[in-house]
Amino acid sequence: METLMAIMIGFLFTIGTYLVLAKSLIRIILGISIIGHGVNLLILTMGGLKSGGPPLLGAESLSFTDALPQALILTAIVINFAVTALFLVLGYRAYKTLRSDDMEQLRGIEDE
């Protein structure tokens, strides 16, 4: 299971990196979003995949799953969501103001 997850995470990072290196702004934003998902899966895998019962009082089990990675991911998802939303809005505004979403044309050599 861990191997499968590792391949999956690598796959997500590959796609994300490919998209971030694109010229179009919307692809870049999608790319960082996908990298964010890869990171969340990585935290889940690194905390150990399910190896026991739910960590609840009264649950009858010899070993319990570590609940901390889930808590970390929950926070990371919220932050990732907020940043992606902000970035999308900013990208839209930048497109309307600058009349371009091509990163080649947003280098900023010319004076304004």
Binding site: I28, I32, V39, A76, I79, V83, F87, L90, A94, L106
Partner: protein
Amino acid sequence: MNNVLILPIIIPVIVGMVMVIYRKAIQFHRWAIVIATLAMAVVSMILIKQIRGTGIQTLQLGGWEAPFGITLVADMFSALLLLTTSLVALACSIFAFRSIGKEREEHYFYPLFLFLITGVNGSFLTGDLFNLFVCFEVMLISSYVLLSLGGTKVQLRESIKYILINVLSSSLFLVGIAYLYAVIGTLNMAHLSLRITEAGQNGLLTSVSLLFIVVFGLKAALFLFYWLPGSYSAPPTAIAAIFAALLTKVGIYALFRTFTLVFHHEPQITHMLLGVLGALTMLLGAFGAVAFSDIRKILTYNVIISVGFIIAGLASASNMGMAGSINYLIHDMIIKALLFLIGGTIISLTGKSNLNEISGLIRTHPYLGWMFFVAVLSVSGIPPLSGFLGKLFITRGTFEAGYFWLGAIGLFTSLMVLYSVMKIFMNAFWGETNLSLEMEKGTTKGVMFPIVLLTALTIILGIGAEGIQPFVNQAAKDMMNPLVYIEAVLGSNAIP
């Protein structure tokens, strides 16, 4: 347990949230931000007094004992930085009253400013690696909005790059946290330090620490600084000044914390790498500072040089170098804010940022000119101003550690710093006055007070070094001895 620790985080959050409700009441915003920053300054002074008396202060939020709950820790290092942060924030917010414009003020400038300070204070106080990430994000999201606030073309263009690089580095930060959790099984910094000391820092952990160098290096503009000159010269002066004074410093703080507390067992690898990166940062920054003739560009490259110089003190891993770094860090927060404020005032007076088109301001603005001169001397480390002592200690620390090349590069780049800022002084203030008072685009009315305040601070910090140095030495001593930190957080039973 000490409940005062939470105040530097909740004061700005609550005041900021109340401001959001009363959006149009600009006068209220102004009073509130002054009172909030002053209150933070008072709280950090109380903290410094307590730490001086009884050692490192901790707060276990909700009564959940470390390493299970959220821990706030204030040692002398973070308390000194808290105090400096609140003073610099006070100066920059007063500068903003007259310079930022009604439009930005009505669009939540002051609340965002306070949320930024919240993130900065939180990063200084947290004792947990994941909370450090969260506080970083609070700070960064506020900075994204502050950078793009106003929506001019150059701001939008630069904020896209700034956000992209920071989101990527935050993802890498989480990757590092995940690896560390898999290897060590905890994220509380004191607990991490304890377990690594017990089990030894093997190759795996050293590799993870290198990932943290990349992450914090991106935030602190250590070698990976290519995003900085563009994004720091885009926003209005008050925002650029607070960015230059605080944002990279938080990355530097994180580097200091992790590499003195957690990953301090393999200095020949990690600290050596930090030294090399610091030297490269200083050199590349110095070339940038000398090459440009645009005031904003020169000042942003000066930010980069100082990052490299402070890291040189960390790389030396000696008491002397550490004391120098803390000294220089405090000095640099003040002086970078001062330089950016004066530089921004020059630009707003003349309407130009190219040095070749500005001259002779000393005749119309003598006080501004002489205060800039003081700042120039201070930033290049001329005694008795505040930059001298830090520079001396860092250089001595690197020499003691045997890194002669590092100290030499530090001294060499100091000359370049002196040249680059003296160039601004000579070009902008000397020469024929080509701009009469009537032709000026802006005014110095109302913006002189924060500049005077920061100039006074750098002079006090220099002349009163005798009184400040014991605090700095205590901070350096506690940082070089992680057991003190561990004992304060986990209790004395935890140490075997």
